[in-house]
């Protein structure tokens, strides 16, 4: 069963990558720099992202957002700190974006999720 699954998985991955590689401009994938151990044949490299990154240009006090019902006391959030300032991101929104970035206290920051 495991052998059959592994063979099926390899075939699907190979077909997928064969179709995808030319579109991402890596037809000569062997010449692309990579770190040792990175197996490009296992990677899914998309030609475009299905996910829109969250470019953070504005924010509000968390206490105000709580008062306005934007979030609840127990809403899962992710908190990043820069230069003594703290910024919260809503975890469920990050499952949509996967990447958020902006500037805080004059310093660039990014969160991946």
């Amino acid at each position: 069963m495991n052998l059959a699954y592994n063979v099926f998985r390899s075939v699907v991955a190979t077909l997928f990558l064969t179709a995808l590689l030319p579109r991402v401009g890596y037809a000569q994938a062997d010449s692309v720099p990579r770190v040792p151990g990175f197996d490009v044949n296992r990677a899914m490299l998309r030609d475009r992202s299905r996910f829109t990154p969250f470019v953070v240009e504005e924010s509000q006090l968390l206490s105000e957002a709580l008062g306005q019902g934007v979030v609840d006391d127990d809403t899962p959030i992710l908190v990043v700190e820069r230069g003594g300032e703290r910024l919260a991101l809503i975890t469920r929104e990050m499952t949509f974006h996967h990447v958020a970035q902006g500037e805080m206290a004059g310093e660039p920051w990014m969160v991946s999720f």
Partner: protein, 237 residues
């Protein structure tokens, strides 16, 4: 993401801000891609894996899983950025800890061989330093009265379930034991952790010093840090 791994990074390469997005999968984890160079990056270690900047690393920082109530107890000036975008419109809902997702075939097809010391979707806290990584399974910490004092990189480390968010946090400590007083954690050095904030025995706040950590699924941490240690409860050591 299915791996549940939130990481803070500084998007600077040679002093220039690069702009990132999720674009690809490897080892069941999404890959970041930057517009400026077209390089694919590991989103946990911040290492450029494939493309012109391969080998470059972004600076890392902790991102804590928490709640508004806890974050405001830590700092009333905490701000929030809201995009209004979400794959699930329902507010609240079950925490990540309570969900038991399955790693779908698309993710598995990017994995060579899993580390079976823990179940694939087991959730826990992964911590790492220059030369060592260690994984604390949530179940094991919970079975240990939700608090563990361990040593890491030559320092004493407190790992506990933060009650408001029901997630694991780790911070360095000088205490050699800890116990719960309701939802507060009392440490043998006189400190008290209340709503995630550490106070000394005179009630003054003590800044928490934390190792790099991610509240994550086992498969992603083990594939990112193949030589990771797995914390064992004292009676199993």
């Amino acid at each position: 993401m299915v791996c549940n791994t939130g990481v803070g990074l500084t998007p600077l390469v040679d002093g220039q801000v690069h702009h990132f997005q999720a674009r690809g999968l490897y080892n069941g984890l999404f890959l970041m891609w930057d517009e400026e160079s077209g390089t694919y990056w590991n989103h946990i270690t911040g290492e450029a894996l494939y493309g012109p900047l391969a080998g470059t690393r972004l600076e890392l920082a902790n991102v804590l899983h928490t709640t508004p109530a806890q974050s405001l107890a830590e700092d009333e000036q905490t701000r929030i950025a809201v995009s209004g975008q979400s794959p699930r419109r329902r507010r609240g809902g079950r925490s990540w800890v309570d969900r038991v997702p399955v790693l779908r075939g698309m993710f598995r097809s990017t994995i060579d061989e899993e580390d079976d010391r823990r179940p694939t979707m087991d959730i826990g806290l992964g911590i790492w330093g220059d030369s060592v990584a260690r994984y604390y399974a949530l179940d094991i910490v919970v079975e240990n009265d939700a608090v563990v004092i361990d040593s890491f990189a030559g320092r004493r480390l407190l790992v506990f379930v933060e009650p408001s968010a029901n997630v694991l946090w780790a911070q360095y400590t000088s205490a050699d034991s800890a116990w719960w007083e309701g939802k507060d954690l009392r440490l043998s050095n006189g400190e008290l952790i209340h709503q995630g904030v550490t106070y000394d025995n005179e009630g003054e706040r003590v800044p928490a010093e934390r190792p790099l950590q991610v509240f994550t699924r086992w498969y992603g941490f083990a594939l990112t840090f193949p030589h990771t240690e797995v914390f064992q409860a004292p009676e199993n050591r």
